[in-house]
Amino acid sequence: MDMSFTAEETAFRDDIRAFLKAELDPALARKVRLHHDLTKAEMEGWHAKLQSKDWLAGNWPTEFGGAGWTAIQRHIFEEESARAHAPRIVPFGIAMLGPVLQKFGSKEQQDYWLPRILNGDDWWCQGYSEPGAGSDLASLRCEAVRDGDDYVVNGQKTWTTLGQHANMIFCLVRTNATGKKQEGISFLLIDMTTPGVSVRPIVLLDGTAEVNEVWFDNVRVPAANLVGTENDGWTYAKYLLTHERTNIAGVGFATAALDNLKRVAKAQRHRGQPLSDDPLFATEMASVEIELMAMSTTNLRMLSAAAQGQAPGIESSMLKIKARRSASVWMR
């Protein structure tokens, strides 16, 4: 075991830092730090800057145009980006669909869709949840019926994050309603400009409208947009979710939030002293920092296991649980 960075990893970190210093607009970093909503152009602009260094898809192999980073390098990139308050990479194309197409897509699909993710031609969103299919995702009912060279799609998706910006949606659709519910699901790529697709924003309790409802009314989708085999979509869906979750603990962002908390605690005063010197507050903040130290290594261990070919399974779900609970402590 060796917990220190190698010389190459340190050099890599210095590269990332230099890039962030040179390329990240302070006004944009401020918006990220204060949790203001970013515009589509701001998110796309940051993607383009990363792609100019071939750093947009750190998780993709180089043969698909990715950076082919190791788990450690990805961790370093995410931590440095978060500390600098760089925008988060929008995950739907890069982190979710990309790995699925690379593993299960046809050569034609890979050649067509993957470059379009990297150069920003397509903005993807995720069509998984439905009003009746949340935790019980496999009970989804949005149906696709084969008709000649097309599928005809009818139904509804919900909680579609940033769907208002998207021109493409990857969807889980029901192609077989008989038998075990997991066995009749297919993975379909749908152009959102097709007639019959409509998007409605859902306003959240903080007043933002980042998530949406998406409706499909007799939407014709070329059968060439089916990924893998019909009725095998559940396998691909699960593969995507484990990739979604290895980054979900958001360790880098938690580190940035802790830095922010320390800054606020120095500025606030309690009983004539900086709040950060208050013993009750200081011990609680220390507890948060200690938890984050362990969580950072938990995240790293899981990324490392995934890099060695072990499927991130139950551990990635653990990260999601842990991150949720920690977030609740930090909110106080």
Binding site: G134, D136, I202
Partner: protein, 332 residues
């Protein structure tokens, strides 16, 4: 010992429930005024007819349960304080209570200072400041009256998280009338704290009821959610917290007129219990609902915002916990 409401209080509760069923929005305040609810918050000496802990608790619990966001507490504190100071307020006066200061963690007299009969500095998150006829202001050790149109007073309004209108108040050598020492008015201020706590109790019990209904109605994996033991246990924890919160409010309400040291122990215990319960219910009710709990359209969204705001009024749980541990009075 008797935990039953008196006949008068039961009638008050019934009439309040009727009003809250029939009226909402802008029609609510006139209906409450017509039914004499504001007078029920005041003693006879203050121009009202009750002002007991039981009356204050039942009124604000009902308002919290109905989700009514009204700036009643400032007027209650203001009218009572002015009556005690021998300077009774005009009929129909609406008074804002300016207590919290920016960056001081509920310590008073840090961001605001006194020179003779003029105050200079800032107060923040003052509910109902915009339409108020007068403002009652706390400083390090005294209570002051400031006219709404006083020279050197700037009001910077904004929406508060709990749907009320709030404001930052900036005082620049603003003329003020000293009403007396803060400790002279501790009973009046304690009534304000009880109102906030009871409002939080009403809100959190409504949120838990809504969550229970949802768990019984929503089906996933072919069963209602409440059939899943992991969820049932979490829901049971919330029900326990509602009862604990109710007991803490009952303790405080029953000791509102007790000697200051005993009353303050109950005040602090109540604020700590309610602050923690409110946060737990806000977080857990969202988790037990899933995404729907985050939306503005569903009733839980507003409840959560009101619960998170409830802890911050007149000192949060941490503030009162520390004073309880140190054996300090609630107001000094």
């Amino acid at each position: 010992m008797d935990f039953q409401l008196s006949d008068d209080h039961r009638m008050l509760q019934d009439s309040l429930r009727g009003i809250l069923t029939r009226h909402s929005g802008e029609a609510l305040m006139p209906a409450l005024a017509e039914a004499g609810v504001p007078q029920a918050l005041l003693t006879e000496a203050e121009g009202g007819f009750d002002g007991s802990g039981a009356a204050v608790a039942l009124i604000f619990e009902a308002l919290g349960r109905a989700g009514a966001s009204l700036p009643l507490i400032g007027t209650m504190i203001g009218v009572a304080a002015l009556a005690q100071a021998g300077q009774p307020a005009d009929d129909g006066a609406t008074i804002a209570f300016a207590d919290a200061e920016p960056g001081t963690r509920y310590d008073r007299g840090v961001a605001i200072t006194v020179d003779g009969d003029r105050v200079t500095g800032r107060k923040t998150m003052v509910a109902g400041a915009e339409g108020a006829t007068a403002i009652v202001v706390t400083t390090a050790d005294a209570l002051w009256l400031v006219a709404a149109d006083a020279a050197g007073l700037t009001v910077r309004p904004y929406p508060l998280m709990d749907d009320q209108r709030g404001a930052d108040l900036i005082f620049d050598g603003t003329p003020a009338t000293r009403l007396g020492r803060l400790t002279d008015f501790d009973a009046v201020l304690a009534r304000g704290v009880l109102a906030h706590a009871a409002y939080a109790l009403g809100t959190l019990s409504a949120a838990v009821d809504l969550t229970m209904d949802y768990l019984r109605t929503r089906k996933q994996f072919g069963q209602p959610l409440i059939a899943f033991q992991a969820l049932a246990h979490r829901a049971a924890d919330l029900s326990v917290e509602v009862e604990q919160a109710r007991s803490a409010v009952t303790n405080f309400a029953g000791h509102l007129d007790a000697d200051a040291p005993l009353r303050d122990r109950h005040l602090q215990a109540c604020k700590v219990t309610l602050g923690r319960a409110a946060r737990l219910v806000a977080e857990e009710s969202v988790q037990l609902h899933g995404g729907i709990g985050m939306t503005e359209e569903y009733a839980l969204g507003g409840m959560i915002r009101r619960l998170l705001a409830a802890d911050t009024a007149m000192g949060d749980a941490d503030y009162h916990l520390e004073r309880f541990a140190r054996g300090e009075p609630a107001f000094a």
